[in-house]
Amino acid sequence: MPEGVASEKKGFFNRIEALFPFDWDLLRHAGAEPVPYHLKKWWFCLGGTPMYLFVVQVITGIALTFYYVPSPAEAYHSVFVITHDIRFGWFLRSIHKWSANLMIISVFLHLLRVYFTGAYRHPRELNWVFGFALLGATLAFGFTGYSLVYEQLSFWGATVATNLADAVPFVGSYISYFMRGGPEVGEQTLTRFFIFHIGVLPTLVFFLLALHIVLVRLHGVTELHFEGEVVEKEHRFFRFWPEHATTEILIGVLLMYLLTILSLIWPAQLGAPANPNVTPEHIKPEWYFYFSFRLLKLTSLKVSVVLTGAIMGIAMFWPFIESWLKRKFGMSERLSIFIGIFAFLGFLVLTVWESFAH
């Protein structure tokens, strides 16, 4: 008689447990995940950073949505009101902006860490794919979010980006038409970007993050051994809760500190309002699209779009491609390191090049 047993229990917590019959041992079990000792090194905590920043983005984003109006006539003014009139509006907007930038940086750094420590290899290939999808979603967040400001540069950025989508082979015209909600950037575009930014992408990221973390938990954190390291027979682990969680909380506080300082020194600015009739002299996307923009300047529209797509596709499925190359051609894992360094330096060079160019 399980019901009888439950109702016989006395006390506040037992009553709650009767109403919400959750097996707390499950949580205890999930929290007791063994964490390898190398996670004491901060470099390995980069995955938690974008997740913390995502939470910051959700909270500040919801706050900003209270005053933001997604229509071409109102968008710029509502951002102006948030920045200049609403109490703490400038602060929340600056935090949102800086957190977005830091999120992209930390996702990149997390990706580099996972790549160069080989943590993406079998059996964790799928988690790399999820992680890469998260990178894509983060970039899409940045792009749609920036476009919502509806200032001159972000408007023309959206125009250029949707024109780029137009150049995708076969389906490009459909994609750009879908993104814009019509033949050109306008009323429909802003509503679409808004829905993507506050509805579709957050939901997508939430589920991808859940999958990402569940997979980490199922596979366990990779045990990393450096070359020449004497591997002890007994693996050294510490508990996720409370030891590792404390580290993550500390990182959260440090991030909040960093975000506040950045927002105080460089608060989010507002350029000239969008004007579809006047093209600015220098159009530039946000820094995380510099590599693609530089590629566009170096090659033709079609070539750069196909090239960017191909590189992204290869990178996304690299764990599978690598193991196939290993099986087929006996490729050494060392080559992967060189390919990674080459790709990263390429990205860095294109980004820095574009940031100094006019």
Partner: protein, 155 residues
């Protein structure tokens, strides 16, 4: 060191950390709530800083931008400060101060305005027009000047 004191120490450290986190994030949450309180938005005017009083020479004119991007000409004479819109009442060209002649001049149709903004020659004088005045606020104690300009349009 026995086990009991270790426990107390750990407990104290955790408690300090927990309270610290609660206080700092709590402060942020309170400020966040103030952001969400309904607020009067769409004010009509806005005060812009227009320099310190000591920066104004008697008989001189300094120029500031309003929020619509038009020049506001702030002039000091013996009586005090006056601010004028640079928009010519004739056809909306931009008027500027000619220090040598001590008058405002509109280059479009050679309109001339005297030191108090009244048109004295050219088409604006024929129409009996004058430069529109912009409200000005001088903080005597602080020695700071503000111009009161229209906020940018919000529909």
């Amino acid at each position: 060191m026995n086990d009991a004191s270790m426990d107390r120490r750990t407990w104290l450290a955790s408690a300090a950390m927990g309270i610290g986190l609660l206080l700092s994030y709590g402060t942020l949450a309170v400020q966040g709530m103030m952001y969400l309180l309904p607020q009067q938005i769409g004010r009509r005017g806005r005060k812009l800083f227009a320099g310190r009083l000591v920066d104004y020479k008697v008989g001189g004119v300094r120029t500031f931008l309003d929020l619509e991007g038009n020049d506001i000409l702030v002039k000091r004479d013996e009586e005090g400060l006056k601010a004028y819109s640079s928009v010519c009442p004739h056809l909306g060209c931009r008027v500027h101060w000619v220090d040598a002649e001590k008058h405002f001049f509109c280059p479009c149709h050679r309109g001339v305005f005297d030191e108090t903004g009244i048109a004295i020659s050219g088409p604006p004088a024929d129409g009996g027009q004058r430069l529109s005045e912009v409200p000005l606020d001088v903080d005597k104690d602080g020695g700071v000047v503000y111009i009161e300009v229209k906020d940018i349009k919000r529909s």
